[in-house]
């Protein structure tokens, strides 16, 4: 294609040993991610989407297959630079932020580890980070338990941005949040992506979120990549039955959405597949 992809996976496979059995969590997956794009990975629990995220982050080494970053193969043992460039935002910020550390200390640690700025500059950089994610600088000395879910998620995002990160893996970043807070966090993420030219790998099971934030969507089922398409095309004309069933499971509010779901689930009803939601 045009430019070199920022991240690409070649025939990624990952097995887990459970007792005497071997479970293939990710089965021969290949995809490219272009710089600045938002690739959504969707699928049910157990589909392997989080395992792929863990491999990208270097938490699990792949059983076979490779990952490359800017065209260079990522080693099993990541360097500090790799860890700096590829960051993670998790689903539950309460478990990803150290409860004993103040917000400022958590952000400061990221700067210390990756040696950004001088010691004197860092407190100011922390303030700037907080502002960037829409948090009042007075929050700096609070502990995570004194923040709301949305505010905590903002801190987690600030920490992922603290370094010169290029790829951010977002593992269900909004599924623990209320709809109003979710909308605000999604807006923030999208703004930050444009501002910093970030690349997102957005893992979720909520297709209505995907529709509005992702450029491309990869659908996972039982560890296999069953469909990879542009968001627009995927929602207008999904080729896989599984994708259709995922789309028609989304709770909706408007008449147009009901129509879209109805159109997609028609073929299912004919196959005697998943019962149509209006029935």
């Amino acid at each position: 294609m045009t430019a070199q992809p920022i991240l690409s996976a070649h025939n990624l496979t990952r097995d887990f040993r459970v007792g005497k059995r071997t479970i293939r969590a990710v089965d021969d997956i290949s995809f490219d991610v272009q710089k600045g794009e938002c690739l959504a990975i969707v699928g049910e629990s157990g589909s392997g989407k989080s395992t792929v995220a863990n491999m990208i982050l270097g938490i699990h080494p792949p059983t076979s297959g490779t990952l490359s970053f800017h065209g260079e193969e990522l080693p099993v043992k990541r360097t500090l630079l790799h860890r700096e460039k590829i960051q993670l935002v998790q689903q539950n910020p309460l478990s990803s932020l150290n409860p004993r550390r103040s917000i400022a200390a958590s952000l400061r640690l990221a700067l210390d580890v990756h040696k950004h700025g001088t010691r004197g500059e860092r407190p100011q950089m922390v303030q700037k980070l907080l502002e960037e994610v829409g948090l009042d600088p007075s929050f700096a000395n609070r502990s995570p338990s004194a923040l709301s879910g949305g505010q905590r998620q903002r801190v987690a995002i600030a920490r992922a941005l603290a370094c010169q990160s290029e790829v951010v893996v977002l593992d269900e970043p909004t599924s623990a949040l209320d709809v109003l807070v979710q909308a605000r966090i999604l807006r923030l993420l999208d703004d930050l992506r444009t501002m910093h030219g970030l690349t997102f790998i957005f893992i979720t099971h909520d297709l209505s979120v995907v529709r509005n934030i992702a450029d491309r969507v990869a659908v996972f089922q039982y560890g296999k990549l069953v469909e990879l398409a542009d968001t627009e095309a995927l929602f207008e004309n999904p080729t896989e039955e599984y994708t259709r069933s995922l789309i028609s499971a989304v709770p909706v509010v408007s008449t147009e959405e009901v129509e879209l779901r109805g159109r997609l689930s028609k073929t299912e009803a004919a196959d005697g597949g998943v019962e149509s939601p209006g029935a």
């Binding site: 209320d178 979710q182 909308a183 999604l186 209505s208 709770p251 509010v253 147009e256 879209l260 209006g278």
Partner: protein, 292 residues
Amino acid sequence: MSADLALSIRNLALSFKSWSGTSQVLHGIDLEIKRGERVALVGESGSGKSVTARIILGTLHELKSARISGEVWVAGREMSSLSQSERQALRGTDISMIFQDPTTALNPVYTIRQQFHEVLMRGDPKISLSTAEQRSADILREVSITDTERVLESYPFQLSGGMNQRVMIGMALINEPQLLLADEPGTALDVTVQAQTLRLMRDLVRQHGTSVLFISHNLGVVREFADRIYVIYKGRIVETGPAASIFDDPRHAYTKALLAAIPRLTGGGIPEIQEDSEAFFDPMVTHEDVSA
């Protein structure tokens, strides 16, 4: 309270007393559920929807720091006039509840069979093991579980989340309660599993004629489930009416904001959300019920 109401809440107020003063959580809410009706209570976290459920269950009455005023009529009885043991007797028989996360709601050290037996004994303390077995298997078939023998023998961790949720629904309905409280059931599950369980629950309560109070933060989830909707914001009901009417013509600023916040499957970008506005405190809007 009239006989055709399964639940009637009149001017319910709740505050919590702590060393730093009292905080008002519910500012006098009114809510009614007719027999066989499915009603949704929708609001953000902290709006007071879950404490309302706990007052209906009667568990909050036992908390010393809770100050409750107003009336809550369930199954013809006013909750605050009952003793602790009388309230306890209502739970699991006349009122039952389904929680968000089925795997934490079930006891991990008992089999599903033992847990069903315990629930059935609340309705009939002398129930024999064989009858209990029979009735559990029947209700499991109703929630579309076919291999009932295996499920009854299992511990919760041996079953999937969706399976546990169905077991929970079965347990909640087995004593034919008059009122079922469902606090965000299935939000801990996958979308596909959630859609299935909601559909299943809707069909079941319709067959059994159970009245339901469904609590959620997402209007989209209740769309296909509820006959009527109450929208709650910071301890006040801001809008109420038949579900179709709320979705077609939301009138309160807060309801509009809640609806606008849901990303659309048809696209249109990430919703623009204004910060909390004064208009959210506007007086309550009631939609006329055309069918009544």
